[in-house]
Structure formats: C-alpha cells, structure tokens
Assembly symmetry: C2
Homo-oligomer: 312 residues x 2
C-alpha cells in the first residue's frame, strides 16, 4: 500500500465498508427465522454465519458500494447487493475448501467449515449461501424497481455459474491435471480465460452491480465493466506473483503452491518481470477506464493500485 493520503482514505473506507457489510450479513443471517420460513435449522444457520461473518477484506462489497456511490445510490441498497455478492464469494470458498476440491483445513487462520462442522454441513452451507444471495437480490429493499432487481439476479447468476466462477473452478481443477492424469499444456490465453472466469467474473460483477443499481447509461456501464474486467485480471496476476514472492507469514497462507503443483499461471508462462509489467499495465488501464467519472472515482483508482501492490 502506498502511504499517501488517497491510500489512507482507501484503507479507511475499506474498513468502514467491511464493518457495514458485516453488520448487514449479521442482520440478514439472524438465527431467528423470518415470517415466511418454517425454521432456520440451528446447525445450518450457525455454520452459515461461521462461513460468512468475522473475516475477509470485503473487497467485493467495497467495489459494489463505491461503484454505486458514483450514481448516488442509497447506501442501504448497495449494501444489500454487496451482501448478496459476499454470500456467493463465501459459498465458493466453503465448497472450494472441501476435501474433494482443494482440501484445505484452514481459511483466514480458522478451521474451514467442513473441519469445524462436517462435510455434509459444509455442502449445505455453500448451497444455502448461494441460494440466499438470490433471495437478497430479489427483495424490494434492494431496489424498488423490479427490472433493476432482476438484472442484478441475471448478471450474478451468469457471473457465478457455468460460464463464470463455477466453470472457472472446473477449468482450474482440469489445469491441475485432475481428470486427464497429466498436466495439460495451457497457453496464456487458456490461463486468462480460466482466471477471467474463476476470479474475474465476480469482481467484474461487483462493479457492474453498482452500475445496474444506479441505472447507469451505456457509456458509464461500459466504463465500469472495463474497469472491473481489468481489475479482475490484475487481481489474479498479483495473486500469482504473491505466490512466488510473498512471505507466508504476511500472506497468511502457504506460498509457492503453484510452482510445486507445476501449475500454469500467467507468472509461470511470462516470468515474474514480464508479469509485473503486465500487472502495472493493467492498473493503468483500469484507472483510464474510470475517466468518465473524473475525481469521483478516486477511491476506485486507489483500489486498483491496492490490488497490484498488496503484500497479503
């Protein structure tokens, strides 16, 4: 993180957004059932809360809220969309951590859901968080205009599904040689497609959600879409570089995992120096995409720099 004033403003805002998202999720996922529900089974809601509360940078909620702010969307509405997106992000972590997937025991320094509870509960927690995201988006509190709510639903389903995040996770498992018995040869284009789907689609959606909530015109919608797509690519390259150069203590998870798995990443294909060049090119591109918003987009620009410069 750059230590300049804009950087500090960004960190302060990210902290604020994280607290607001936490409190929105805490409210939405209250242990007591709401009137239209028969019950909220205790073990399930407890595990859903464990999976979604008390951790995470809440970077996707930040993007939703800052994008929405460009159009003066009321904070309560943006927080609903942000909470929905965070439910999808958390569901994906719970399922990805499962023994049959990445088999991780720890997440943010705590036991993963299937370790803390059990595998069946973890599967149901993921399913329920994913389903709950659409419940949240479809509620009138998210936006009084049904056309806007249904657009949020459609775009989230596409970002998270077969042609987005879930599809990207499938490509990622294939890239590890899970199904063929041997590591496939991935081109840079293959790697970019995998990452655009696995990580990029939700980051891109975060920015699109702000534009949808704000009923943005075509030009501004396209600008935020380009920002989100570029940011997503930068995010993944920065992650790959961290895996090579990061200190496990700072990063908070094991590093050098990609190289040990001989996994195709942009860094493995391009080398660290060229990957960094590309990363800073992407940040410049992301900042340029925000031109139509002028000074209003200062914090989003900081976010792009944060993504590239983060050490954890």
């Amino acid at each position: 993180m750059a230590g300049n004033e804009a950087g500090s403003q960004f960190v302060a805002r990210l902290t604020e957004v994280a607290a607001a998202t936490e409190s929105m999720l805490d409210r939405l996922l209250s242990p007591a059932p709401v009137p239209y529900e028969r019950s909220r089974p205790e073990r399930l809601i407890e595990a859903m809360r464990y999976a979604s509360l008390g951790g995470g940078k809440r970077f996707r909620p930040f993007l939703v809220i800052e994008s929405a702010t460009l159009f003066a969307v009321p904070l309560e509405r943006a927080l609903m969309a942000a909470a929905a997106l965070e439910c999808v992000h958390c569901y994906s972590l719970v399922h990805d951590d499962l023994p049959a997937m990445d088999n991780d025991d720890l997440r943010r320094g705590r036991p993963t859901v299937h370790k803390q509870f059990d595998e069946a509960t973890a599967i149901l927690v993921g399913d329920s968080l994913l389903t709950f995201a659409f419940d949240i988006l479809a509620r009138p509190e998210t936006h009084p205009d049904a056309a806007i709510r249904v657009a949020l639903v459609l775009e989230l389903a596409r970002a998270a599904g077969l042609g987005g995040m879930a599809g990207g996770q499938m490509l990622d498992l294939a890239a590890e040689g899970r199904f063929a018995g041997a590591l496939p040869q991935l081109s840079l284009t293959d790697v970019e497609e995998l990452q655009a789907m696995k990580t990029g689609a939700l980051l891109r959606y975060a920015c699109a959600a702000g534009a949808i909530l704000g009923a943005a015109d075509t030009k501004k919608r396209a600008a935020l879409d380009r920002f989100g797509a570029t940011l997503g690519e930068a995010f993944q390259i920065a992650d790959d570089i961290l895996d090579v150069e990061g200190d496990p203590a700072t990063v908070g998870k094991a590093t050098h995992k990609d190289a040990e798995a001989h996994k195709a990443t942009a860094v493995a294909i391009l080398g660290v120096a060229k990957a960094k060049e590309r990363l800073f090119g992407l940040v410049a591109e992301a900042e340029a995409a925000l031109a139509p918003f002028g000074a209003d987009a200062a914090l989003l620009k900081e976010a792009a720099r944060f993504v590239a410069e983060r050490r954890a």
Copy 2:
C-alpha cells in the same frame, strides 16, 4: 393409478410435459456457450446434462405447467419456469447422493454423478445447476414483466434455501442421528416440518410458479398454494408408505430403508393404517382446494390421486 379416463389423460399429459421439459433443458444446456459466456467447460456441461437429461417423471414441471394453464399462460413461458425448477430438483439429487450426504451409487438405474464423473465435478454440477435456475428465471423469455420474473426468483430462493429444501435436508441428516451421536426423538410436528421443508417446499413452489406467471388474484393464488402444500405432504407420506410396503423391483430403489435406520417418519409414528387414512384425507383436501377452478383443474386433481396411489 386408477385406470379411468381422467387417469389416462393425466398419464398422457405427464408424458407430454416430460418430453417438452427434456427438450427445453436440452436446448438451455446446449454444450456450446452462449454469446455472453467465455466458455462452457466441456466436463462441466457434460456432467450437468448427465444430471438433468434422460430421466425423471418431471412431476414438478407438470405442476408448473398445469397450474400455469389455469391462467392461459403461454406454454413456452411455463416451460422456462419448469426447466428452472427441474434444475434445482436435479442439483439437490446430485448433492444429496454425495458420499458425505446419503452416499448413493445409483440414481434412476444409472451411476450417480460422482460415480460416473468424480466428487469435485458433482459438487460443481450441483452448484452450477442451482445457479443456472436463477439465470433461466431472470431471462425476458420467461415473462416480459420483470416484476413477475423477480417474484419467481424470490419464491424459488425461499423454497430451495435455508428455510426450505436445504434446511429440510439438514433436519433430515440430524433426524438420522448424524450430529448428536444418537437418534433424536422427533414428534409428528417435527417430522411434518422436516418434510414440508425438504420435499414440500419445491412442490408447493411448482404450483405457486403457475399462479405467479398467471398474475393470479389473491384467492386463486391462495388456492394453489394450499393445493401445493397439501400435495407435498401427501407426496411424502406416500413415499414413506412405499418404503414400508413397496416392492423394490417396482419402486426402483431399496425399500425398508427408514425402518432399518429407525428413522422417524409419519408412518413410523402413526402406523401404516393411520398414515393411509391421513394420506387419503390430504388428497381430498388437495382436491377441495382446487374448487375455484372448477373443471379446468381436472388434471391437477388426477395428479393428487396419482401421488397417493403410485406404486413407484
């Protein structure tokens, strides 16, 4: 099945609906990506098709379509909602069959998805089918009015999630003594709640979806809701009776599973004779709920009788 004319009409219509649903799902889940998708990863779409095509009575789609027909909803629209609901039903089967859940190797006489492919693929297939359901419902082809589409989304999310099907599956695992180490003592009310959530919620949604698509007035909406809820309860009791009395060869799966697991079911609590009495009471109640629709609801009435009398 009664061999009378209405019964034959019902069977003919169920067969027709199954074919139309199959062909809609086949089209929606085509292997080729649609323009807004980067790709449809081959193994994932293949396994999604395996999980959702080529089998099943398509009883939920039948209920959507027949309920929608009461309001002269165009068939193409009802088929979209039916396909979405069937995606949710199929996702639930794929995840329920997983080793960590019910650990089933066979489904409709074929290897389950995790047997035919692998566990990671099965998890992603379930996630992707669930997500895809919301993609389908949010498309303009489902209904030109966004308020109707978003109502379909909201109700499906609630029927399938924490307070519905997924919550019911959690209660079912708990009822098997999975978490406490011992079989809990379930009252008839507990069992009814479990079943209303696990099986009832989606059947009820099927009928509600027709009313939503048809912009039904409050009275007709409530009538279909009551029909769906009663039908759902009858469905589960009939299933429990089949488990006690059914011939495994006809039923197509092992019977006496509940008794062997000492599982609390309405039949275990009431005994077969009283359970049958209740079942036929529920069918009469379901038929009575359809009174506002007169002769138009003849096939839905047949459906209720079919549920009670089925041998498989």
